[in-house]
Amino acid sequence: MAATDTTVDTVREVTEQYKYGFVTDIESDMAPKGLSEDIVRFISAKKEEPEWMLEFRLRAYRHWLTLKEPDWAKVKYPPIDYQDTYYYAAPKKKDGPASLDEVDADLLETYKKLGIPIQEQEILAGVVAVDAVFDSVSVATTYKKKLASMGVIFGSISEAIKEHPELVKKYLGSVVPYSDNYFATLNCAVFTDGSFVFVPKGLRCPMELSTYFRINEKNTGQFERTLIVCEEGAYVSYLEGCTAPQRDENQLHAAVVELVALDDAEIKYSTVQNWYPGDKNGKGGIYNFVTKRALCKGKNSKVSWTQVETGSAVTWKYPSCILQGDNSSGEFYSVAITNNAQQADTGTKMIHLGKNTRSRIISKGIAAGKSDQTYRGLVRMQGKAEGARNFTQCDSLLVGDKCGAHTVPYIESRNPTAQVEHEATTSRISEEQLFYCMQRGLNEESAVALIVNGFCKEVLQTLPMEFAVEAQKLVGISLEGSVG
């Protein structure tokens, strides 16, 4: 294993260097292109991980080699060359624009509409303003200290692996096992960073936790790994992701999110996803292949997923709940908007194992342009799910005659006392609604945005306040150019 030793040495050098300053030569901060056992070892070594973590990664990698990329989703994309990707990339883009003047005017326009301050615009556009990053870091740290004093652990998963190995070891892979699916397995092998949240027994986390600052700090790469654990009676509300367009190349994001809720615990997980969707002709954009799953392990536990999906070229994402504890409940609220050539295959799974478990699914899909959208969901009532209930409502709205909206629900029931209800509709914006809005002086575009916002209201109002406002704006922006 001479090669590996050399790699490890190289990594050590690189890591040491990195410690002495944020501005590092980009080349040295990148693993060689491609994927191999050496790369997996490289990543693990780079992150100074313990032996068990490396084992975890290698087991996943070896399993991944035996898997075939899934093709059941209703999405089309050119085959991904997994050897043509960097699995450990530097935080700074090599050919990033030097100033805002060089950034795409369309993009800046979007930022302006979102009301993002100029300094943040620079960060988001990839013009790395070191000061701003440092600011963010310090902000994050202030919060972290406050949280730590209460016993909440909130930080990057790499830190957690080092500082709280017993917790990570106990829960990592307990909801999404390393062998779960092609993309999750790949993530297990090569994940570079992500968040770790641990809320101890009986504590209601006093503030909404967000990855927003932390992502700026770390510029987290393509393979995020998030793990949130709520002990007995604890509560946390977690906001994920980029609320602004991320300028990116055609890139693969294969993230894994695991949530564990013990007895009486509650986790609220909100996402506003607005990765770069590619241009009008479908060139570029993110492949967002994400595995998100919650385990309602304890009795009376509750997990609520809310997502607003407006970005990415291709989305493959099914935030799910395993309702294991008696009386546990799972919720899924989703708004997915696709425009131009975007494709989204998204939905949820609710697996009812325990007695009196409850689940509720509200999914609103809006397809415009030439986009294709699929709701794919599974509700399963196992034999022991006495008195379980599910209600599902999935509505689709079509804007224009070149798009597609599809609904593929699977409903499996093995218990007579369990009750499942599913409703779905597909329609377009009625001429009448449009007429009434326009008759009051709104132009067609704003009228459509208003009607669509009304269509999504049930979901948007479950978002935390500051997210809800941004999400509403996003709805308008992502539909731009789809009417008239």
Partner: protein
């Protein structure tokens, strides 16, 4: 390829049809090629996710012997529908004129056995046979194409309305061993023609039987076909049937299936609405008990604008019965002003029963009204209470509610005579069920 690698139903000696014309030999080969490529579907195939044919594959079926006949007094007619109709009896997929009662056929109607037409006037069926059913995603229909020998051929001339229903009784009988047969039916209604065709699928419980039927229906402009099916085989019978209908402008295809018997039943219906103003109705109800398995799989393809369709299925599950409903509505790019509805409701009466539902919408046009709904649950306690509060004991109340649930869809049958026949059948089934409960 050695015989051991062959998919089931091909390894035994095939009955070789005599004097086949070129096109038929080619069609047969095309069917066999698809089936050999795809094989017997497994749950890994999405369309068969919930229906496992593993048990079927393990039984050693032989091609049904050509000479099996059933004496008129041995026919399991009690299991079939009873109604005033022109009756045709098929035993193991072969027309049996001895026990059929067609009387004098009305003018404009041709009813014959397919084998006879294939021999005498092959040119009549050449443009139609296999046109709808030769598809990669229908391997069992392809097997049928490969092995077809007989079935029903119906052709109704332009503008003719059939007063009486045509009743096809399909009897499965193993004779001396487990038997498989592949009936092939062809129904053509010319412009403006109107007919009611009823099928009763029954059998003798002597040996396991496997009926793999394919029915191709072509409706001309403004034609109207009411197509009803009773699936009531004995516990030893397997039935996998696919009906494919092509519905022209302003034509109407109404289908209903009641599945109450048989070990495993798959009723697959595919309707293509290919002309403006076409209307498709695909309904069904089912009741399963013991280890029965019923699968209703529907695809309604809105290929043109301004067509309408509806699907309504209801079922009751008892014992360790299993039911599957997969209903899909496809609205193609230009099919504007489509109206498509779909609803499936299942009632679980016992622990161990299982129902799997997959109602699917695939929509590419924006000016449409499409909806689907699905519910699964137990008997509404409130309804039960309401009846019991009026002095009806629990068992009777439950029986009444179950009957009402199954019968609900039967009431949607637009042909009155047939509707009555189906209602009687549901009541018979219910009586039998009560007897079974008492004897337990």
């Amino acid at each position: 390829m050695s015989t051991t690698e062959m998919p089931p139903f091909l390894d035994a000696a095939l009955p070789v049809p005599v004097e086949e014309t070129g096109w038929l030999a080619d069609l047969r080969q095309a069917g066999l090629d698809i089936y050999k490529r795809k094989g017997l579907p497994t749950p890994k195939v999405e369309a068969w996710k919930y229906t496992n044919l593993g048990g079927l594959a393990k039984t050693e079926f032989k091609p049904a012997a050509l000479d099996v006949t059933v004496a008129a007094d041995k026919l399991p007619l009690a299991a079939a529908l009873s109604l005033d109709a022109l009756a045709l009896v098929f035993v193991n997929g072969r027309f049996d004129p001895a026990v059929s009662d067609l009387g004098a056929l009305p003018k404009g109607l041709r009813v014959e056995s397919l084998s006879k037409v294939l021999q005498a006037e092959p040119a009549l069926v050449e443009p139609l046979l296999g046109k709808l059913a030769t598809r990669e995603d229908l391997p069992l229909a392809a097997l049928n194409t490969g092995l077809l020998t007989d079935g029903l051929f119906v052709r109704l001339a332009k503008g003719v309305t059939l007063d009486k229903a045509l009743h096809v009784v399909s009897v499965a009988s193993g004779g001396s061993s487990a038997a498989a047969f592949h009936p092939r039916n062809l129904i053509v209604l010319e412009e403006g023609a109107k007919a009611t065709i009823v099928e009763s699928h029954v059998g003798l419980p002597d040996f396991p039987t496997f009926e793999n039927s394919v029915t191709e229906v072509t409706l001309g402009e403004g034609a109207e076909l009411k197509h009803y099916r009773l699936l009531n085989g004995p516990d030893t019978s397997y039935h996998v049937g696919v009906t494919l209908a092509d519905v022209a402008a302003k034509a109407r295809y109404e289908s209903f299936a009641l599945a109450i018997g048989g070990a495993l039943t798959r009723n697959e219906v595919r309707v293509v609405l290919s002309g403006e103003g076409a209307h498709g109705v695909v309904n069904g109800s089912y009741a399963v008990h013991g280890g029965q398995h019923v699968d209703n799989t529907v695809l309604v393809d809105h290929a043109v604008p301004r067509a309408t369709s509806s699907q309504l299925f209801k079922g009751v599950l008892d014992g360790t019965g299993k039911a599957v409903f997969q209903g899909k509505v496809l609205v193609r790019r230009d099919a504007q002003e489509t109206d498509a509805q779909q609803l499936h409701k299942a009632l679980l009466l016992s622990r161990g029963a299982e129902v799997d539902t997959k109602p699917e919408l695939e929509i590419y046009a924006d000016d449409v009204k499409c909806s689907h709904g699905a519910t699964v649950g137990e008997m509404d306690a409130e309804q039960l209470f309401y009846l019991m509060a009026r002095g009806i004991d629990e068992e009777t109340a439950l029986a009444l509610l179950v009957e009402a649930f199954v019968e609900d869809v039967v009431h949607e049958i637009s042909d009155e005579v047939v509707r009555e026949a189906f209602i009687r059948k549901v009541r018979d089934w219910q009586t039998g069920r009560e007897k079974a409960v008492w004897s337990e």
